[in-house]
């Protein structure tokens, strides 16, 4: 198989890269929504990140990629097997969900082949099973049918896929980072769905010629000699991989002081976001950023880093008001953070 484009070699797109790193460090963040034009390296970045991550330990022969570590969630097949479970190593999966995918293909369905040729009732896993513990990438998520998006976000949040159809009853773990991309000009996502994505980023083609030349040059070098190009960038990629591993280990130990909590709450209040999901995501993201930077205490600076990504898509808005939400978040941050703490 061809090696993926190295993550470290992606030019620019800092915000998207950071959001993906946060999701890689803390999968519970709830997915990343990437809005932007075609040809801005969205899917390249997702694939590159997955290739960067260390291969995972899986139960050998498990169709759902269950983790063999004790007290991990298991599919019914693995749960039925005796411990210790046989182990194998597999790369972190990236699953593409095509726009026209049917519900069958997504959640899985009766295995027709076995039903018809052997008369067995068996479950044929869908895309959700393949994406377990990896990434599920949906291009043009805003054009996906609402009920499918709903279903995906439900599964992503609960970490489990429950199938009840055609006399089948299957339950299997499905923990994945949902990455949706789209162009808001082509249609909007319902606000309820928007709110359920953890982070959102806006990407654009770099406007300056120098970075565009850089992009084309690197991509061209990669296309002509994938192996050589990847080797050149391997040290940097390895460094990044180490950082992710360290961050994952550090994450549970990152402390969020009350003052930062308060600032986060005030920011969300100032922006009038509904519900507590905004605050929670903001804190998780700040904690993840702190851990990526190797720090044990999350600060207001970390909040500032992640606030636009965490809040931009949650602002209650008039559907006919087109003032930029990034601008609104930045304005609110200036008001809240720069006015000094209240007592």
């Amino acid at each position: 198989m061809r090696r993926s484009f190295p993550f470290a070699a992606i030019v620019g797109q800092q915000e998207m890269k950071r959001a993906l790193l946060i999701a890689a460090v803390d999968a519970s963040i709830g997915g990343v929504l990437v809005f932007g034009d075609r040809g801005t390296g969205k899917s390249t970045a997702v694939r590159a990140l997955a290739a960067l991550l260390p291969p995972m330990r899986v139960v050998a022969g498990c169709r759902y990629g269950c983790s063999p570590v004790p007290d991990a969630a298991l599919c019914s097949e693995c749960a039925a097997r005796g411990r210790p479970l046989p182990e194998a190593v597999a790369p972190v999966p990236v699953v593409d969900m095509p726009l026209g995918a049917t519900e069958d293909r997504v959640v899985g369905a009766l295995d027709l082949e076995r039903a018809l040729t052997r008369g067995e009732r068996a479950f044929e896993p869908g895309l959700l099973a393949r994406a377990n513990r990896g990434f599920l990438y949906i291009d043009e998520v805003n054009l996906l049918e609402d009920h499918l998006v709903d279903l995906l976000i439900d599964v992503a949040a609960s970490g489990e896929n429950l199938v009840e159809r055609e006399g089948l009853s299957v339950r299997h773990p499905a923990r994945f980072v949902l990455v949706g991309s789209g162009n808001p000009e082509e249609g909007e996502l319902r606000p309820q769905l928007l709110d359920r994505f953890g982070l959102s980023v806006e990407v654009a083609t770099p406007a300056d010629i120098a970075s565009r030349i850089d992009i084309v040059r690197r991509r061209d070098a990669y296309d002509r000699d994938p192996a050589g190009f990847c080797d050149t960038w391997a040290p940097e990629d390895a460094r990044l991989a180490l950082r992710i591993e360290a961050a994952r280990a550090l994450l549970p130990h990152v402390d969020v002081p009350d003052s930062v909590l308060e600032q986060a709450a005030r920011l969300c209040m100032a922006l009038g976001t509904d519900g507590l999901r905004a605050e929670l995501t903001l804190l998780r993201a700040a904690r993840a950023v702190a851990s990526i930077e190797g720090e044990t205490v999350a600060t207001v600076a970390h909040l500032r880093d992640v606030a636009p990504s965490a809040l931009r898509h949650r602002l209650r808005r008039d559907p006919l008001d087109d003032s930029g939400s990034s601008a609104r978040v930045n304005r609110a941050m200036m008001e809240v953070f720069d006015s000094g703490p209240h007592e």
């Binding site: 061809r2 034009d37 075609r38 040809g39 801005t40 390296g41 899917s43 593409d96 095509p98 726009l99 026209g100 995918a101 049917t102 519900e103 069958d104 009766l110 027709l112 082949e113 039903a115 018809l116 040729t117 008369g119 291009d139 043009e140 805003n142 054009l143 996906l144 049918e145 609402d146 055609e166 006399g167 162009n183 808001p184 000009e185 082509e186 249609g187 909007e188 319902r190 083609t205 406007a207 010629i209 565009r212 030349i213 992009i215 084309v216 040059r217 991509r219 061209d220 296309d223 002509r224 559907p319 006919l320 087109d322």
Partner: protein
């Protein structure tokens, strides 16, 4: 899309350019054969001799060529279990998908403009993974009928054969040996940084956003160098690449545009002087952004860039400028945006029963019902069957039952807004307010909306069907008023949109905001009587098609004209003075 007479004349093309287009198409074909990673060719052409000859050349190129029918299903595209063969053989039989069988070759997709988004997505993924080329045959006529944008972005060459006939082709064949030799040389071709910079600079100067374009251009240049037997990409190679790859994607002209060839004479008697050029207004952001990077072109690094830019510029088709604004719609939103909401008859939705049919594209086998259909025959079949071992279930093709699905048809609300000077001017603001309220309502119901404005000598689709409310609002906000009332052209435009929406599985509703006082004919000339008659005829056509409509009379004193129009349309008639926006909403809902 401009529906007035004026734009219906094809922009005139210089002599001999058709031959050049043919030559470019052949060159593109050669380059693709040399480097299949160029993605492929989007060939916009009516079926005809020129296209046939080009495809014949493709067949000579030594590439494996596979045809992809329109509306191909996943099973045929990706392969999978062949149910009928499996049952006949008694063991799993797989069918090989098109993508697999075409590996290393080229897929020729017929009617690419009708390709659905799911198939396009899979094709795009296949193109990205390399080892496969695509020739998208696009038979679209209307400018918005185009191959999916996600694919167009990945295909290096965009060729338009609209004006090319068999007389422009020549008998040239392809040199297979030459191509193979060029292919062998390809790996060793280097491209200097100056060429790279020049191609990137040219792309930026032409307002091309996607980074794929310069990347594909670079590949094309390299393939050209390999063909020419050069070890390094020369200026001519880069210029050729710019001409073939970058020029068709241009969205702006870098320098002051050359005097534009007249698209057609303005109508003899324009109802108002400011309507002589019914130019599509810069309806939304992209236009503003386009203007921004333009100054970049002034600091183009060097001579190489200028030469390449000039080459690209010379290849920009003459009619392009006139279509640029409309390309904003096309490139960014149109095809994909609409396809997302398409309700395929019975492909999705909630199940409403079963019917006998073999499962296939979009048809889901209902296992329980299939077994139920087979059950009564088991004893008979077991007795007559020779092959199958005892105890096996005997299923035949005729037992297959598929689930019927019913999806709620979405509504597409098409607003026809009269922006003429006659009477609407005074009430244009009010009409806009009413439309905005309706838009907010459409947003809640996830309807699609489209906006057609008419004034002066023609009607213009401000916004093709979309769910993006922001765009709808923007398109209305800047709507200027004044001019005559080309009502017939407006109803025609609305009717075309409505038919397209209906083909896409949506239920169209026309909402006319007008005083009904038509005074401009379809031909763009004045003449109240003719204009009224034409409008009435157009309205009756809508009624005959059974489309729901609503007429909001915007004149200050509701008159018989709008009422008569409503009668012709079979529409609900509401005089605006007596309604507020809320009751308009109630009325649309009711329709």
């Amino acid at each position: 899309m401009v529906f007035s007479q004026e734009k219906n004349q094809t922009p005139h093309i210089r002599m001999g350019i058709e031959g050049e287009i043919w030559q470019s198409a052949v060159t593109a074909l050669c380059l693709l054969a040399v480097d299949p990673r160029l993605g492929g060719v989007a060939l916009r052409a009516p079926p005809g001799e020129a296209r046939t000859r080009w495809l014949a050349l493709l067949a000579q190129s030594g590439l494996v060529v596979r045809k992809m029918p329109a509306g191909i299903g996943d099973a045929a595209l990706l392969g999978g279990l062949d149910l009928a063969a499996t049952l006949a053989a008694g063991r799993p039989m797989r069918s090989i998908g098109l993508l697999e069988s075409a590996a290393g070759g080229v897929i020729v997709a017929a009617m690419a403009e009708r390709m659905d988004a799911g198939t396009a997505g899979r094709m795009a993924a296949a193109l990205d993974s390399g080892g496969l080329g695509l020739v998208a045959l696009d038979e679209g006529v209307a400018p918005d009928e185009q191959a999916p944008a996600a694919l167009l972005d990945r295909l290096a060459f965009h060729v338009d054969f609209a004006e090319v006939s068999h007389r422009d082709t020549d008998g040239s064949g392809l040199e297979c040996g030459e191509i193979a030799a060029a292919r062998a040389r390809l790996g060793g071709i280097t491209a200097g940084d100056d060429m790279l910079e020049a191609l990137c600079g040219t792309a930026a100067a032409l307002g091309i956003d996607s980074v794929r374009a310069p990347l594909l251009a670079l590949r094309a240049a390299r393939a050209a160098a390999a063909r020419g037997g050069r070890a390094e990409v020369s200026l001519e190679d880069a210029a050729l690449a710019a001409r073939l790859v970058l020029a068709p994607r241009a969205t702006i002209l870098p320098s002051p545009p050359p005097p534009q060839p007249p698209d057609g004479e303005p109508p003899p008697e324009p109802p108002a002087p400011n309507d002589a050029s019914p130019e599509p207004r810069p309806a939304d952001g992209p236009q503003a952004q386009e203007d921004a990077p333009a100054p970049e072109s002034h600091k183009l690094p060097d001579q190489a860039c200028e030469i390449i830019l000039a080459a690209a510029q010379a290849a920009i088709p003459a009619g392009l400028l006139a279509r640029l604004r409309q390309q904003d719609f096309r490139g960014k939103a149109k095809s994909q945006g609409r396809q997302g909401a398409v309700q395929k008859g019975g492909q999705r939705g909630r199940p409403v029963g079963v019917r006998a049919a073999a499962p296939g594209p979009g048809l889901r086998l209902s296992v329980i019902e299939t077994l139920r259909a087979a059950a009564p025959w088991q004893r008979v079949r077991a007795a007559t069957s020779v092959m199958a071992p005892p105890g096996r279930l005997h299923l035949r093709r005729e037992d297959f039952r598929v689930t019927r699905l019913q999806a709620r048809a979405r509504t597409t609300t098409i607003f026809l807004v009269d922006a003429s000077g006659s009477a609407a001017l005074a009430r244009l603001a009010e009409a806009k307010g009413a439309v905005e309220l309706l838009l907010a309502d459409c947003y809640q119901r996830r309807d699609q909306v489209a906006v057609v404005a008419f004034r002066g000598c023609g009607a213009q689709v401000l916004l093709p069907p979309t769910r993006s409310l922001v765009r709808a609002k923007r398109s209305l906000a800047g709507l200027p008023g004044g001019g005559g009332t080309p009502l017939a052209a407006a109803i025609d435009a609305g009717f075309m949109l409505a038919e397209a929406a209906r083909r896409g599985g949506c239920t169209p509703t026309l909402v006319l905001l007008t005083d009904g006082r038509a005074n401009v004919t379809r031909a763009g000339t004045g003449g109240r009587a003719v204009a009224q008659a034409e409008a009435a005829a157009a309205a009756r056509k809508v009624r005959a098609a059974g489309m729901a409509a609503l007429v909001l009379d915007t004149s200050s004193r509701p008159g018989p004209e709008a009422r008569g129009l409503a009668a012709c349309l079979g529409a609900l008639y509401i005089p605006l003075p007596f309604v507020n926006a809320t009751s308009i909403r109630a009325a649309t809902l009711q329709r």
